[in-house]
Each structure stands twice: as C-alpha cells, then as structure tokens.
C-alpha cells in the first residue's frame, strides 16, 4: 500500500484522505489523492484554476460522490465534526429583502424566521459579526453589502456553528488586493484565537506564502504536501503552475516568506 504523505508527523491528523478520486461526467477531476491534514493548522490547497481544488473541498464536505476514504479524527469528536464552510461564490438575489441577520439566523435557529429571531441567537450573531468587524451590516439586505463585507459575513456564518474544522473556498476571489490582505489578516487572527483546523483553497501564491502553515499542491493529483516553507520550491511551483511560476518568482525576487513554524497545535 502506498505510504501516506504526512504534513507533520508530530501532530494529530484532523482529516485523512486515502486514495480519494472524484469523477464527474467521465472526467477524473481528482486522481488518487492520499494525505493527512493536521489538526489545528492552517493548510492551503493550492493550484491553478480548474485543477480540482474546489472539487476536493466538496468531497470533504460530502457534497460529491468519491471513491477512496475520507476519515475524520475521532479524537476531535465521536461523529462527523462540525464543519464551517465559506463558499467561493454566493450568487445573491439582489432584490431579496433577506437581511444579513436573517441569513445568519436561518442556519442555526430552530424557530422559523417568520416568528422572529430569538434574542439569544441575535446576541450571538451580533457578537460574531463584531468579531469579524462588520456589525454595522446586521440589518442591511444581503444583496446590498459589498464583496468584502459579504466575505466577512460568510466567515461569520461559518464561525457561528462553533466549527471544529473551517473550510474556505477561494475566500478572496471577489475582493480587491487590499480587501484580500485585510481578510487574510482577519482569518489568521481568528485561526490563532480558536486554533481551528483550517483548510484554505486558493490559487494565490502570495496568500499561501504569507498565511498557510502547510500546503497541498494539487493539479488533479497530489503534487506535493508539507510545510509551506519546504514546499514552495521552484521545482514544485513549476510542476503545479508551470507558465505562471516565473512571473511570481520575478515579482517576489526569488524569496519566499518564512513559514509559521512556531505555531502551536491545539491538541
């Protein structure tokens, strides 16, 4: 049997993927991916567009049929862990009067929205919105907030479920560079506070280099897996991104930021 690549052998694996393959419409999108994702760390799934990153995330979420095994650490919980999910694109109905508060409440409140939001739920929602810095949008219609605010609201909804694992799918795809930097800083703050196992899907090398502790390089199959510092080598990047790599290396003057080797595990 193929040896599973481990990202860090000293920590617990929150998620173990064993020979995971996903086939959609006769095309193999994910091809025999085996790896472990460390508990309490921020792991980036990196690769160009259309190479199966989102598909792998959807397989972990259980949204797609796959072959192989995806196992969650039973020390985290005896059942399937609570997963907070920040999707890539939320195609909002701009004319809908549904407010940010409504959107956050419907995922958690048992009482139907038309009977009102319970005060305790409202207080919890406002607390999380304050944590991500967008309390002011609570009463605004979801279709009227900016892309940056929407990303924070989506992060808030993921955090409201008190997740054990946080999955983010290209969270900064719809915001500008300054918005991206602010969101990534917020994500790192939240991660450091809560020590959540976080998986971040991105095609943005600078986000990976600046914020991820570990990285999985994906191009339909697993190209490399390990600590960011060790994995972001010219050879690996050429294998994952090929034509885009030279550009990145030129822009960053052949240097890559330090990885987060001093991060403490929550285990």
């Amino acid at each position: 049997m193929k040896l599973l690549p481990r990202i860090k052998s000293m920590t617990n694996a929150a998620i173990t993927l064993e020979h995971v393959s996903v086939e959609l419409g006769g095309h193999k999108i994910i091809d025999d991916v085996s790896c472990q994702i460390d508990s309490g760390y921020l792991t980036a799934i990196m690769g160009p567009n259309g190479t199966g990153k989102t598909t792998l995330l959807h397989a972990i979420l259980g949204l797609l049929p796959f072959t192989g095994n995806i196992r969650f650490n039973r020390q985290l919980s005896s059942r399937r862990p609570r997963i907070g999910y920040v999707p890539q694109n939320v195609d909002l109905d701009r004319g809908s009067p549904v407010t940010v508060g409504d959107f956050l409440a419907v995922g958690f409140a048992k009482r139907p929205l038309w009977m009102g939001i319970h005060r305790q739920i409202e207080a919890e929602i406002k607390k999380v919105l304050e944590r991500v810095g967008v309390l002011v949008v609570y009463n605004l219609p979801l279709g009227k907030i900016s892309g940056g605010e929407l990303q924070r609201v989506l992060l808030a909804q993921a955090l409201l479920g008190k997740p054990e694992i946080l999955l983010l799918d290209e969270p900064t795809a719809a915001v500008d560079i300054s918005g991206e930097a602010l969101f990534c800083e917020l994500l790192e703050e939240v991660h450091n506070d809560l020590k959540l196992t976080t998986i971040l899907v991105t095609h943005d090398l600078s986000v990976v280099a600046a914020h991820a502790h570990n990285v999985l390089c994906l191009n339909h199959s697993l190209i490399c897996a390990g600590p960011t510092k060790d994995m972001l080598t010219k050879e690996n990047l050429m294998r994952v991104f090929s034509p885009h790599t030279e550009l990145f290396l030129q822009q960053h003057n052949h240097t890559l930021p330090d990885n987060k080797g001093n991060h403490e595990s929550s285990d």
């Binding site: 959807h58 979420l61 259980g62 949204l63 997963i83 907070g84 999910y85 999707p87 939320v90 195609d91 909002l92 109905d93 004319g95 809908s96 009067p97 549904v98 407010t99 508060g101 409504d102 959107f103 409440a105 419907v106 995922g107 958690f108 409140a109 048992k110 139907p112 929205l113 038309w114 009977m115 009102g116 939001i117 979801l142 909804q157 479920g161 999955l167």
Partner: protein, 280 residues
C-alpha cells in the same frame, strides 16, 4: 365546517354572504389563498413558477383519465398532478438538461396528452370549463375539509422548513454543510406544492393558479424589509385579495378566481409604486 359557515354569517351579516355557497367559498378562499401565498415565497426564490404551471396544466389529462376509467376525476386530477410534479423533480435531478427544459418537455407532454384525449372523446369537453376557470362557488363541505387540512399542513411545513428552504435558496452547498439535506427538502417542497396547486385549481382554475402563488409573494418582496416580513406580507395581501375579490365578483357577477387574482395584481402594482417612492 357547518359551524364555521354559521359562525361566519353571525360575524359578518352581509347580504353577499347570505347564500351558504358564498360563505363556503369565502372560507375556502381563506384557507387556500394564505397557503398559496406562504408557499409562493419559495416559488419566487426558487424560480418555480414554470414548475407550478406544468403541474396545473396536467389537470386536463388527470380529469380525462378519471372520466375514461370511471374513477372520481377530482382524485385522478390531484393524483396525476402530483405524479407529474414527482416526475419533473426526479428527471431534473438525473438529466443533464436544465430544469426549465425538463419542465418544458413535461409541460408539452401533459398538455398534448390532455388535448388528444379530450378531442378524441368529444363528450368530455363540457367537463373542462371548471378546470380552466375554477369554480369556488360550487365547493362542498368535504372539499372545505381538504382545503383546511392542506392549510394546516402548509403552515406546519413552513414552521419546520422555512429556515432550511431559505438557506437552500441562498446557497445549497452551504445549507448542506449545516447538516440540511437540500435534495430531500426540495422534493418534499415540490410534492406539497403539487398538491396545493391541484387543490387550488378548484378555486381559480388552471390558467390562474400560478398567479395565486406568485403575485402576493412578488408584492411582498416589494414591501418586506426582512426575510420574516416576506411571508407575512404575502399572506396578508393574499387574504385581503381573497375577501375583496370574492365580494367584487358577487357585485360584478364575474368569475371569482379571476377577480381575486385581479385584486392581488392591483396590490402588486401599489407595492411596486411604494417601492419606487421609498427608493428601495
């Protein structure tokens, strides 16, 4: 139900509610219109108006099958409509075609089948006027009971499912990550909607039943300032339209269903103007 009709004549001693059939019609409309308005909120958010149209247009075939096989045609109509609804839901999930294409195929099939049956057996055509335009004034006590239970079922479903369906309509994978099964909820909603459409046909007819679902909910979107306001505005507009429409149809001697829909369209226009004035 007799108690309810007697109570109504005591509470509202109007001339137009003097005949028992008018009282039954009002009670029937007050069960059906709010139920349609509540379900209409999701018809609008899931863009299911065409789905509702396809189901209602299967009524011809459903009634014809009942008449041919000598079974109660009300039940064959409801049964066939729900069957068509299930067919659309299953095929649109399995097929590679888009949902509206699948519905278009079903729509064509049921309408063509209905016309073929009716045209081949000429004696059947006289049964279809009430299917086309509805006949709320002719409902009996048993039908009122069915409308009452459907009213309860719809609001029970909305109490359990409103939040889940709202999240599914906003982002289905996100709902899934919250432990909601979007497929199960969409199918359950579709089947209940199919039932409601077929029962509501009796009130407004197949041509206008979708309006009973869509118009109050569309007006509610113009007026509501939150997700909770949507259902209340929709139900309020539908209920007032039902009462006012029934009254006006009595005065004008017009078709009840169409008059009710016309009143709700008037409310929609008002709501649109209010939205324009408020600058929202």
């Amino acid at each position: 139900m007799n108690l309810l009709t007697d109570l109504l004549s005591g509470l509202m001693p109007f001339d137009w509610l003097e005949p028992a059939f008018m009282r039954r019609a009002l009670i029937g409309m007050l069960f059906i219109a709010p139920a349609c308005a509540a379900m209409g909120v999701q018809v609008v958010s899931f863009r299911m108006a065409f789905f509702s149209d396809a189901i209602s247009h299967s009524a011809f075939t459903g009634v014809a099958l009942g008449l041919i096989f000598g079974i109660n045609s009300h039940w064959t109509m409801v049964g066939f409509g729900v069957l068509v609804g299930c067919g659309v839901l299953v095929f649109s999930r399995k097929a590679v075609l888009s949902t509206d294409t699948v519905i278009g195929v079903f729509f064509a099939a049921v309408v063509a089948l209905g016309i073929v049956i009716v045209s081949a057996r000429r004696g059947l055509s006289r049964y279809f006027e009430s299917v086309l335009f509805g006949d709320i004034l002719a409902i009996d006590s048993n039908e009122l009971w069915i409308m009452f239970f459907l009213f309860l079922l719809v609001f029970l479903f909305q109490a359990i499912g409103y939040n889940k369906l709202l999240l599914i309509s906003l982002h289905s994978p996100l709902a899934h990550s919250r432990g909601i099964k979007p497929a199960r909820w969409e199918i359950a909603y579709g089947i209940l909607l199919a039932f409601l459409v077929m029962i509501s046909l009796r009130a407004v007819g197949l041509l206008l039943v979708t309006a009973l679902l869509v118009v109050p909910a569309a007006a509610a979107r113009n007026l509501a300032r939150s997700g909770s306001g949507l259902i209340w505005w929709s139900v309020l507009i539908a209920t007032i339209s039902a009462g006012v429409g029934l009254f006006l149809s009595y005065i004008w001697g017009s078709a009840t269903g169409a008059t009710v829909i016309l009143v709700s369209v008037f409310f929609f226009i008002c709501s649109y103007l209010i939205r324009l004035v408020m600058g929202r």
